[in-house]
Symmetry: C3
Subunit: 450 residues, 3 copies
Amino acid sequence: MHDPADPSSLRPAKRDLVSIDDFSNQEILELFKLAHEMGRDLRAWSHLCGGFILASLFYEASTRTRLSFESAMGRLGGRVISAADMSSSSASKGESLADTVRVVGGSYADVIILRHPCEGAAKVAAEYAAVPVVNAGDGSHEHPTQTLCDLYSLWVEKGSLEGLTVVLVGDLRYSRTVHSFAYALARFRANLVFVPHPGLELPSYVLERLGRRQAYEPQHVTLRDFPDVSRDADVVYCTPQKPHQLSLFTEVTELDVPSYDALYVTRPQIERFVRDGGRAPERYLRIEPHTMAGKKFKATSLMHPLPRTGEIAYEMDKDPRSIYFAQAARGVHVRMALISVLLGRSSFKSPPPERVADGDEVVGSPLSCANPTCISSKEAHLGSRFRIDSRRPFRVRCAFCETERPVGFVGDRERRTAWRSGAPEAADVRAEEMVLFESDEQVQRAAFAN
Amino acid sequence: MHDPADPSSLRPAKRDLVSIDDFSNQEILELFKLAHEMGRDLRAWSHLCGGFILASLFYEASTRTRLSFESAMGRLGGRVISAADMSSSSASKGESLADTVRVVGGSYADVIILRHPCEGAAKVAAEYAAVPVVNAGDGSHEHPTQTLCDLYSLWVEKGSLEGLTVVLVGDLRYSRTVHSFAYALARFRANLVFVPHPGLELPSYVLERLGRRQAYEPQHVTLRDFPDVSRDADVVYCTPQKPHQLSLFTEVTELDVPSYDALYVTRPQIERFVRDGGRAPERYLRIEPHTMAGKKFKATSLMHPLPRTGEIAYEMDKDPRSIYFAQAARGVHVRMALISVLLGRSSFKSPPPERVADGDEVVGSPLSCANPTCISSKEAHLGSRFRIDSRRPFRVRCAFCETERPVGFVGDRERRTAWRSGAPEAADVRAEEMVLFESDEQVQRAAFAN
Amino acid sequence: MHDPADPSSLRPAKRDLVSIDDFSNQEILELFKLAHEMGRDLRAWSHLCGGFILASLFYEASTRTRLSFESAMGRLGGRVISAADMSSSSASKGESLADTVRVVGGSYADVIILRHPCEGAAKVAAEYAAVPVVNAGDGSHEHPTQTLCDLYSLWVEKGSLEGLTVVLVGDLRYSRTVHSFAYALARFRANLVFVPHPGLELPSYVLERLGRRQAYEPQHVTLRDFPDVSRDADVVYCTPQKPHQLSLFTEVTELDVPSYDALYVTRPQIERFVRDGGRAPERYLRIEPHTMAGKKFKATSLMHPLPRTGEIAYEMDKDPRSIYFAQAARGVHVRMALISVLLGRSSFKSPPPERVADGDEVVGSPLSCANPTCISSKEAHLGSRFRIDSRRPFRVRCAFCETERPVGFVGDRERRTAWRSGAPEAADVRAEEMVLFESDEQVQRAAFAN
């Protein structure tokens, strides 16, 4: 029996969902099977989580996500305590996120759903809370349940994920949803076709990560099947199969796949353009009945994370290939399954993911994260934590928000000496002894030789 | 079993409460009997709606209404997901109401309670959502559960509604509540005495509708029983009995009824005066112990929809005739009964109302609704829909907000010809072929002859 | 069976928690035993309050308090209706608190949790609502469940409250929490050591009340055990034992106790300084590992009502003496016990407190409360009510907010005569006949002789 006054007594068994990488592929498929079973009769589970409490802590408004989680908990027979606007409450008295989740995860709630504008917030919450934490969006970083829902919906429609061909269209630059979905699809060996709105291309770091983790190689292609949508687009194709099968004769090959399994459309993230000093895109794409008229689209599921703005015509709503409303409905099923697993009311048989050694962690350096919306920029007590991505060249990223961070000097705590981050000595310092500096000045202040 | 990913599977059996006219008189009385049974022991029903979820979608704040519905669902053992401030959420990302209710009615919730500042919003929600929708106020249009609660409270007090004499006093111009209550009372053949605050008389369209639908004829009368309240008022009496029984000798007769069954008081809708450029009324009425001193008031129930401002003195609170707090309490009972019926946990034996042919509908004309707060003015995808009220003279009203709309020209789609709306040819066009135009210019643009 | 349309039928048995003085010491200990039992397995009580509804009415935001109550009700199996922001709702239509709680306590809810910015609001709510009311903070007046939680946590740690030595440090001037905790500790005969931040000393009325009600005599002392914290502090010691045991030789004695049972730290109430035209304190105390290093601190529980700002270093979090997170967790246990008692699902065997005659009440005088945030200043219908604190000298305090109020003249309603409040005749007027005046002018207007 867990002693609520001693939160650590729960810790050993606790699982969080901060990133989709917290679950192995096999676990994800088990989750989907459970979700599917639950979705068959939503009212058959109303005693599964009786006596349990879910807390919604929303530091920014996201009514739909909140309602979806709260509905899932309600369908499981649990209770909900809800703070739809945390930003105007305790936090304004200066309380840290770490303290808040320790209180709420004390005996207020058995699972915490967190939405926060700062990247890395969910990781912090998971580390401090005594109860499972679900990341319901941390800034522009991750929103893993959205990705699970998208993936689940595709799995329900197609029966499997392996080898599917999925087209991702629209604003591929600012849509966190698309990035996460692409990473997840790649874990299941899907073929990806990126069709960006001109000027809103997929950032290079997404392609890089697909290459690094899944050995996907991006290929620029032309595409005739979507004349409306792809006309001026810089289309990129990524596949886990050998890509040279496609590029036989010309430099930029034409993509020729037998059919498309899904078309995933996103809205333009106008608020993000404006923040970056840009303008709303003109003539943003619009999917209309004729867009999906070709025979390659006979069985193409039309997906959208919703809310849509104008990018899918209302005429498509009755088309049996349009699954965006079903997709939203299924979000409740996946969240039901997830909550019941995290609360220990259902369990996975498959093993959890092996923790990929993303690099060792360097703790407590003078160097701080440069991302102004990183949780570590907001909460000083967290200090600085970086993960070493590679030693040659020397590259680190913030352990909270995962943003890459240029390093000026690398020091060795034992030898009290620092080297430029490009120097060979820098690459050899043991992580436990390592200190990272931004500038010569920081090195001086720490009284390291250099 | 309904497939939550396919909302339409629920549709056949679905009932909504958009307007009180969605229920027949017999159904209303059945609802009252059920409400009364439920009110006897509020804690005896806590398993009736177990496993069901109610969503409160409030696009404008109305805490009392929201709490009343959420309490009712709680008393029935169901769960609630609550969005007290929808206007600052998904909607702000540009999502249409139609999309929102399709998502929420997907698998989030089994019944939707909607409050919206736009007239016609509940009708739209009911058309798009896969689950029952209850109108908890759509702009200045309808608020049917308030009316049901008022009616129910009177029914509890008097044992029946037929033939009662009900006095409605105060701001009769801007109070939506009074208008709806009057229509409902008329359906049950009550006698109505309208005692307006000077300058805040009942709009003529209300009297007109009472005449058109219930054959009530308004009569200007004088009234001696309320010296304080009626002194300068233009009192109007409406009765389903032959009114000439009263007007025997003089032009403006004196009202003489044996007793008053209820006195329904409303607060001045100050926010509405100000919006219309008016001023708050001076010396608004105030019910005090001496106001109800005559013997005709011995059994008069003093009613108020609450919140009150100063129009009922606190001294009245202990008067056994004051039922306004009981009235509010009973609102929960009626909403319990309503929810259990809409969720299919209780059922009516009486037949639903025959759909009164309010006129045929004209869809997709260039003419648009002129009411700036009509839901069709906000959401372009809805297009234009009008109902033909009468053909000679030619009159239509918006199918969403029910506001009358002047028509310039009436066209025939087949003959590609349009006539002035007063012309005899206009009256003969079949509704399915009809196109409505505001102006000659619109006719030209559509390339219709005229 | 209670008739929900007749709220008064519940009244006889109703208990409220407006002030901690509403419970006797024995009742408090019974509550703690129940809380402790409940805390042992939070999921074992999920049917105790099935069918009951708790309403959270928060007229100012306090997310943590609200979530704690709502969690407690959830753990008991009851339902919650929640208005996190009452100030922007009905109240804005001009509704009085008295009306709101009569409606909500009608059939919406079985217990009301009220948070309000006005002193005395909870008392008003308790008087008007048909159901139990819990004060979750009324302005700067009381917040009794916070005090109960603090007391409970100490009781859990120490096994008893009698004779403990508790140090209260920091902002002792503006912290309502500290005042209430001190009063409560004194009821259980604890020894109190007040160590204020310089300039934020305990108000004299708190010491006065400790003296008046518990016969505690304050003593200025020096203190060597906290060099960091007490260096410039004007330390005050209060004990129910004869204080001269300490002051043997010198005027200002040195405090010498064998050990400290608890150290209760509060954050600086910066918003209050600023309101009063002050500045945030410089170098506010900070508890760090070395602060509690001496052997007198071996078993000292470190307490904080949370949220903390910088006054307890994060390094203390892992110290086994730090109980502030456990303290917050236990708040749910106490609130579970409280709610189950108020709903009649558990009961006290001990008798309730005898109502201490705090003085007779004087109702309906022209004199009004001078506190601008007293609920009686906001809601005119409440009229004026004062309690006579003492007759010689003549002193009264507002019956709502308990603020002392200078009186100009005291009148006798029967004799139509008034005297200066210092006059001997004033002291002899019977409370029922007494009328209080601010000024000569008020006396004249009431046509009293003087």
